[in-house]
C-alpha cells in the first residue's frame, strides 16, 4: 500500500493505506484524531467536515490520495487553546446537545466566516443547511454563528 504524508494541523503525519481510503478514516483510525465524526459516509450530514486549505470539505468523500500536500485542519487543530471565535461562541450560546454533530458544524461555520466574516442570517442558514443536527440544536447553531461573526 502506498505511504501518504499528510499535512494535518500543521504537522506531517504518515499513513500506509489504500489510495481510496477516505481522509475521515485515516484521521480517525490511523491518526486517532477522533474529533472528526462519521455520520453518513456519503456527504449528506457534514459530521466529517474538515478544512482543506481553509475550505470546508467532507472528509468522508475525500480519498486520501487526493489530499496531496493540502493543509488539513481538523477540530483538534482549529485553534491552539480551543478558543477560536466559533468555539467561544458555541460555548457562550450553549449550543451542544448530544454534541456528535458539533465538530462538523463548527468547522463548517469557521470556513464560512473565513470567507465572509459578516454573513447575513440568510447566508448563515444557506451554508449551515448542509449540516444535520439530529438533536435539532439548529436555533442555537444559527445564533452562535452570528455571535462568532461579531467576534471576528
Amino acid at each position: 500500500m502506498p505511504l501518504y504524508t499528510l499535512n494535518i494541523n500543521g504537522e506531517k503525519m504518515q499513513a500506509d493505506v489504500a489510495e481510496d481510503t477516505p481522509l475521515l478514516w485515516v484521521l480517525r483510525d490511523h491518526f486517532r484524531l477522533t474529533g472528526t465524526k462519521y455520520g453518513c459516509g456519503i456527504g449528506q450530514c457534514g459530521a466529517c467536515t474538515v478544512h482543506l486549505n481553509g475550505n470546508a470539505v467532507r472528509s468522508c468523500l475525500m480519498p486520501v490520495s487526493s489530499v496531496q500536500t493540502g493543509a488539513i485542519t481538523t477540530i483538534e487543530g482549529l485553534s491552539e487553546n480551543g478558543d477560536h471565535p466559533v468555539q467561544q461562541a458555541w460555548e457562550e450560546v450553549d449550543v451542544p446537545q448530544c454534541g456528535y454533530c458539533q465538530a462538523g458544524q463548527i468547522m463548517t461555520a469557521a470556513a464560512l466566516l473565513k470567507r465572509n466574516a459578516k454573513p447575513s442570517v440568510n447566508e448563515v442558514v444557506n451554508t449551515m443547511n448542509a449540516n444535520i443536527c439530529r438533536c435539532g440544536a439548529y436555533h442555537r447553531i444559527r445564533e452562535a454563528v452570528i455571535v462568532a461573526s461579531k467576534k471576528i
Binding site: 500500500m1 493505506v17 489504500a18 481510496d20 481510503t21 477516505p22 478514516w25 480517525r28 483510525d29 490511523h30 486517532r32 484524531l33 477522533t34 474529533g35 472528526t36 465524526k37 462519521y38 455520520g39 453518513c40 459516509g41 456519503i42 449528506q44 450530514c45 459530521a47 481538523t74 477540530i75 483538534e76 480551543g82 468555539q87 458555541w90 460555548e91 450553549d94 449550543v95 451542544p96 446537545q97 448530544c98 454534541g99 456528535y100 454533530c101 458539533q102 465538530a103 463548527i106 442558514v125 444557506n126 449551515m128 443547511n129 449540516n131 444535520i132 443536527c133 439530529r134 438533536c135 435539532g136 440544536a137 439548529y138 436555533h139 442555537r140 447553531i141 444559527r142
Partner: protein, 725 residues
C-alpha cells in the same frame, strides 16, 4: 412541596428494598454502621475525599460529582450535579461532573429513558448534597469548638456567625471522618440559587474541541474492527455464505458467521467496509417478506377485528352514539421511522478468560450487562461496563442487540473488538418506531357536548398502541379505547416519546375536528372537558386538569391566540412523561403552500432545574416532532427497508425549522423530565394550523406526501410581513 424531607436510616433501607436490591443512590454507606468513615473508595479521585457515592471534595476545594446516568444530549451531566451542588451550596465554578461507570451497588436507575431520571433522583440527589453540607458544617463546629447551628454556608464556604470563614477544601478532610447525618433539612424552593438559572453544559469545552469521547471514539491498542452483514430483508435467514473474496481483501483478518450474521473483521474501518461489499450471501425467507402495501391491508383488517384488547371502557358508547346529534369519525396513520442518532450503533467488547470488558454508548447499561451475562454464561460480577457519551439515542440505545453482537464476536475470535454499524446498517437494521393507524369516533349532543368517544389503535409490533388513561379519558361519560397488534418480522422499539410521539398528533388533530364540529374554539372545547374531569370525573383521571389549564392559558396568552394577522394558528396540548406542554403553531401561505413559521410552547415540568438546558430540550423536541411529522418515513419492499441513508431518508435541516418560543409555567412542584414531553404536541399543533390555513386536514405522516405540498408552485401571493396573505 419537598422541604424538611427526613433522610432517616430506616427510610433509606425501606426504599432500598423496594427498588429490588440496589442500594439507594448516594447513601450506600448508610447500610453500614453510621460511625464508619465516609471515605469508601478514593481510587478514582486521587487526593479527593469521598463523602458518598455522589460526590467527593478535594482539599483544593474541587467538588467532583458523579453523574450516574448515560448522557445523550438530555444534559443530565449538568442538571444532576446542579441539584447536588444546590443543596451543598457549592461554588459551581469548582464543580466537576464525571460520568460514572455502571455500578448497581452505588447507584440505582442508571439509565436514560422515559424522561424519568430527574423525578426519580430529585430527592436523593438533594439529600446527598445536604448531607455533605452538614458534615462540612459539623467539621467547622468541631474546629471552633462551638455548636453547629452557628453556621451558614455559601458558595463553597462554611461561615460562622462571627464572620470566620472556612473553605470546603480546608474542611474536607476533617468532614469526611465525621458520622453521616441521618436527618438533613432540604432547602425551600424559594431559596434555590443555582437551580432555575442558566447553566451551560459541563461538557461544552470537550465537545467544541473534539474531545468528548463518544462510543465510536473509543480505541484500544490491539483491538480489531468489525462490521456485520445482517439479513437485508426482515423475515429472511442465511442459506449459504461465500466469503472467499472478502477474506482476500487487504486488512481483513477473519470472516465469521454466527447466527444470521456474517462479521468481517480487520485492521481498519475502511478495509472492513470495503470487504463487506464483496461477501456473497444467499438468503431464504423463513416468514413472509412484507411490503408497505401489505401493511395497509393489515391495518384495514385490524380495524375490523372483533378481538381487540379493550383498554378502557366507561359508560355505554353504543347508546351514546345511537343518541348522538352528530358523529365525527376519522383515521390517522404513521409509517415506521428510524431513530437515526447522529452516531451510528457501535460497541467495544473484550471477552477474556477472566472476565468481560464492555465499553460504549448505552441507554440501559444494566440490562445490556445482564444480556451479555446470559448469552455468554459469565456472571455479572465479572463484567465491567463503561458508559461513553452517546451521540444521540432517541430510544435506539435502550436495546442491547449491538452489544450482544460485539460480545459474541469477541468471544468467538478471542480478541478485543470494536463493532461499527455503517449508517446504512443503522437505518436498515431494524428497531423502528412502529407503524400505527388510529380510528377516532366522537358523538356530540345537540349542544355540542362530547357524550361519546371511541379510539382504536392498531399497529405493527406496537404492543399497546394507545394510552388509555390519557385525556380525554376521565372527561367523557361513554368511552371505549381499544388496541390491536400485529406480529411482524420487522423489529420495532421505543422511539423518543414512545406511542405518544404519534398518538398525540392524531388525538390533538381529531379533537380539533370535533371542536370545530361542535362550533367551539379549540381552547373552550378542551376547557369544558377539563372542567368536567375536575367536577364530575368519569372513572380514573390520571392527569391534573389544573396543570393542563395552566399551560393552555400560558400559551394562549403568549401566542396572542386569534389576534394575530397574517398567520394561521393551530393549537395542541399534551401530557406525557409526567410533564404538560401546550403549543401553538403558526402557518403562513407562501407560494400557495403552507409554511410553518413559528411554534410557541408553554411547559409545566415543575421546578425548572437548568433554564438553558430546559429550553434546549423543548426546542430540540419541537424540531424533532416537526421534522419527523413533516418528512419521516421508512418503507418496505419484500422485507427490505427502502430508505438507507440521509440522501433518501429526509431529516429536518436548518432551512426548514420554525422559530420556537419557549415558556415555562412557574410553580414549586417537584421537577419532571423534558427529554420527551415537548415532542408529542408538535405534530398536532402544526396539522391544526395547516388546516386553518388551507382547509386540508393532515391525516398521515409524513405531511410532505400530502397532495397539498406537491401542487405545482404558484406565484407567491405573500404580501410584506405583518399583512394577511
Amino acid at each position: 412541596m419537598s422541604t424538611g424531607y427526613k433522610a432517616s436510616r430506616r427510610n433509606f433501607l425501606k426504599i432500598s428494598s423496594l427498588t429490588g436490591g440496589g442500594l439507594i443512590l448516594g447513601f450506600s454507606w448508610l447500610e453500614s454502621e453510621a460511625e464508619v468513615t465516609a471515605i469508601i473508595n478514593t481510587s478514582n479521585f486521587a487526593g479527593n475525599l469521598q463523602f458518598n457515592n455522589y460526590l467527593s471534595i478535594g482539599t483544593d476545594g474541587i467538588v467532583t460529582i458523579m453523574s450516574p446516568n448515560p448522557e445523550l444530549g438530555q444534559n443530565i451531566m449538568t442538571s444532576f450535579p446542579m441539584i447536588v451542588a444546590e443543596e451543598l451550596d457549592a461554588d459551581w465554578t469548582k464543580v466537576k461532573a464525571v460520568q460514572a461507570p455502571l455500578d448497581t451497588k452505588a447507584f440505582d436507575r442508571q439509565l436514560t429513558g422515559g424522561s424519568g431520571a430527574v423525578p426519580h433522583s430529585w430527592k436523593r440527589l438533594r439529600q446527598a448534597g445536604a448531607a455533605a453540607r452538614q458534615m462540612l458544617i459539623d467539621a467547622a463546629a468541631k474546629k471552633m469548638n462551638v455548636m453547629n447551628n452557628e453556621f451558614t454556608t455559601e458558595n463553597g464556604f462554611v461561615i460562622h456567625k462571627s464572620g470566620t470563614r472556612f473553605s470546603y477544601g480546608e474542611l474536607a478532610e476533617e468532614a469526611s471522618k465525621l458520622p453521616v447525618p441521618t436527618d438533613v433539612k432540604l432547602k425551600e424552593v424559594k431559596d434555590f440559587k443555582l437551580i432555575g438559572t442558566r447553566v451551560k453544559n459541563v461538557e461544552n469545552r470537550k465537545i467544541v474541541t473534539g474531545k468528548a469521547g463518544f462510543g465510536l471514539d473509543f480505541y484500544r491498542d490491539g483491538m480489531v474492527f468489525a462490521t456485520i452483514q445482517r439479513p437485508p430483508a426482515f423475515g429472511s435467514k442465511i442459506k449459504s455464505v461465500d466469503d472467499t473474496a472478502a477474506k482476500a481483501m487487504p486488512g481483513v483478518t477473519e470472516v465469521v458467521r454466527f447466527g444470521n450474521n456474517v462479521a468481517v473483521v480487520g485492521k481498519s474501518t475502511w478495509e472492513i467496509f470495503k470487504a463487506k461489499k464483496v461477501l456473497k450471501i444467499e438468503y431464504e425467507h423463513d416468514s413472509k417478506l412484507e411490503s408497505t402495501a401489505d401493511h395497509q391491508a393489515i391495518f384495514t383488517e385490524m380495524m375490523s377485528s372483533d378481538k381487540p384488547q379493550v383498554k378502557r371502557k366507561d359508560g355505554n358508547v353504543d347508546a351514546a352514539f345511537a343518541s348522538a346529534a352528530k358523529v365525527i369519525r376519522n383515521e390517522y396513520q404513521c409509517p415506521f421511522i428510524a431513530h437515526s442518532p447522529m452516531e451510528p450503533m457501535n460497541f467495544f467488547a473484550h471477552v477474556r478468560e477472566d472476565g468481560i470488558e464492555l465499553v460504549g454508548p448505552l441507554q440501559l447499561p444494566a440490562s445490556s450487562r445482564a444480556a451479555v451475562s446470559k448469552l455468554l454464561n459469565v456472571p455479572e460480577e465479572k463484567i465491567t461496563v463503561d458508559i461513553t457519551r452517546l451521540g444521540g439515542g432517541f430510544g435506539r440505545r435502550l436495546k442491547s442487540d449491538y452489544v450482544l453482537e460485539a460480545a459474541e464476536l469477541s468471544s468467538i475470535i478471542k480478541k478485543p473488538v470494536k463493532l461499527i454499524w455503517s449508517r446504512e446498517d443503522d437505518m436498515m437494521g431494524g428497531s423502528y418506531r412502529p407503524a400505527v393507524r388510529y380510528r377516532f369516533e366522537a358523538a356530540l349532543d345537540a349542544s355540542g357536548n362530547l357524550i361519546g368517544y371511541k379510539l382504536r389503535g392498531v399497529g405493527i409490533n406496537v404492543g399497546n398502541a394507545v394510552r388509555e388513561d390519557n385525556f380525554p379519558s376521565g372527561a367523557v361519560e361513554n368511552l371505549l379505547i381499544e388496541s390491536v397488534d400485529y406480529q411482524s418480522p420487522i423489529t420495532t422499539g421505543a422511539w423518543r416519546a414512545p406511542i405518544t410521539n404519534f398518538l398525540a398528533f392524531a388525538e390533538q388533530s381529531f379533537i380539533d375536528e370535533v371542536a370545530k364540529a361542535a362550533g367551539k374554539d379549540p381552547f373552550t372545547f378542551r376547557n369544558e372537558l377539563l372542567e368536567k374531569a375536575k367536577t364530575s370525573p368519569v372513572g380514573a383521571v390520571k392527569y391534573n386538569p389544573n396543570r393542563f389549564q395552566a399551560v393552555m392559558n400560558e400559551v394562549k396568552k403568549r401566542s396572542q391566540w386569534g389576534e394575530k394577522k397574517g398567520v394561521h394558528q393551530g393549537f395542541s396540548v399534551y401530557f406525557s412523561h409526567a410533564s404538560y406542554v401546550a403549543q401553538v403553531a403558526e402557518v403562513a401561505m407562501e407560494a400557495g403552500k403552507p409554511v410553518v413559521k413559528k411554534v410557541i410552547a408553554a411547559c409545566d415540568c415543575g421546578v425548572v432545574i437548568n433554564k438553558s438546558g430546559a429550553e434546549q430540550q423543548v426546542k430540540g423536541g419541537i424540531v424533532d416532532g416537526y421534522g419527523h411529522a413533516m418528512f419521516g418515513k421508512l418503507s418496505f419492499k419484500d422485507g427490505v427497508p427502502q430508505e438507507s441513508n440521509f440522501n433518501n431518508y429526509r431529516l429536518v435541516r436548518m432551512k426548514e425549522i420554525p422559530e420556537v418560543e419557549t415558556w415555562f409555567v412557574e410553580n414549586e412542584i417537584d421537577p419532571t423530565g423534558l427529554g420527551e414531553p415537548a415532542l408529542p404536541p408538535t405534530g398536532g399543533a402544526v396539522a391544526n394550523a395547516i388546516f386553518k390555513a388551507t382547509g386540508t386536514r393532515m391525516k398521515n405522516q409524513p405531511f410532505i406526501e400530502e397532495p397539498l405540498f406537491n401542487k405545482p408552485p404558484v406565484k407567491s401571493s405573500v404580501k410584506p410581513s405583518g399583512k394577511p396573505a
